[in-house]
Symmetry: C2
Subunit: 222 residues, 2 copies
């Protein structure tokens, strides 16, 4: 019974790690689609989100069966409930990647971000890729030491997010209202993506330590 | 055992309905704070969000205990897991009300939205209030017939959201970039608020019918 539970839990964990790869790849490709005004790539990202949703449902069903059939309590139950939450956050990260791709598609054949901000969005795309990869590592290794890296990446994302606001709202902004609106929304998608990665990490910490995450590293980025 | 389970489940349901009232009141007051540039009201909404977060944790603990102590399976388990999800969505609705209040505070003593858009935001605030009230009714009565009302309200919200985009991006927009950015973000907060209400409703439908919501009424608003 116990062995079966552990085995099934490992499978759930593997599926969650798999989800981090999918939503990581989605955001990576969405960023390329955005910066290169690559319509086909944008369409691919948008179409691929169904697979993330399907995997989310599979993880949910598996967790549901685990609870119903194995009747876990205490820390075992906390792990399964935590996995449900993590799946939910990862699904949302997939949605945000899709939003970026849709924004790229909406402005095609133009590039949705002004030339001088391409570098910033490339940086944000890089941070998104790094944070989701670390998130996958936290899920698979349960190494809560990675929390510091993730908090730093989230702070970097917040920095660029604030920087973009500053640029858009500065008197020297010369790209008009539509571009300002695009940049604002896109920046928010990347920032929320990192927030969800942080939220997944907090769940893992709670599971591993048995206590709600109370450190300063992640809260500083709230 | 069975009776204890039903009783505790009723308590969870009452707490969720209570949460809809709290996040409904939060969005209602945030809208007033926004339209009247009422700093004190904005501060109150921001401060009050802690109570929503606390109640969310209480609901989560109660659901956790229910599963651990009563070992529900099948439809009973689905109800408890559903309640966890619903609490999560309602907490997020509270965050969105807080975001609106923060935007009001940021622009104080100015009003964050141009005079001619005050009416639209008042409408969106009214829809937010109506949709969260219907959502509370769905949770307490399990009357899935209310789905149609909720879907209509969500469609109205989407209509105003698109309308605001059209206005902000039209050549006649005369309020500059900062105001465009404010309106874009605020509009998105209201739209997401309604989306979460829809998502709660879908969860209730799934719980009541035992099947994922497959009707057109709510999907039309996706």
């Amino acid at each position: 019974m116990r062995e079966a539970f552990t085995e099934q839990l490992d499978e759930v964990s593997d599926e969650l790690v798999n989800m981090t790869r999918m939503v990581g790849s989605a955001m990576n490709r969405a960023t390329h689609a955005l910066l290169d005004a690559d319509l086909q790539l944008a369409e691919e990202v948008i179409a691929a989100d169904v697979a993330v949703d399907t995997l989310t449902s599979q993880v949910e069903d598996r967790c549901f069966d685990l609870i119903a059939l194995q009747g876990p309590v205490a820390s075992d139950l906390r792990v399964v409930i935590g996995a449900l939450r993590i799946a939910s956050s990862l699904e949302r990260m997939g949605d945000l990647a899709e939003h970026v791709a849709k924004q790229a598609r909406m402005r095609y054949p133009a590039v949705a971000v002004p030339t001088e901000l391409r570098g910033t969005f490339a940086e944000m795309g890089g941070i998104a890729e790094a944070i989701v990869s670390e998130t996958g590592a936290v899920i698979s290794t349960k190494d809560v030491g990675l929390v510091t890296d993730i908090a730093q990446l989230d702070q970097q994302m917040d920095h660029f997010h604030r920087e973009l606001f500053r640029i858009v709202l500065s008197p020297s902004w010369s790209h008009g209202v539509e571009s300002a609106v695009d940049v604002t929304l896109l920046s928010r998608f990347y920032e929320r993506y990192a927030d969800h990665a942080v939220s997944v990490t907090k769940r893992v910490v709670t599971i591993v330590t048995g206590e709600p995450y109370a450190g300063v590293a992640l809260d500083a980025s709230a």
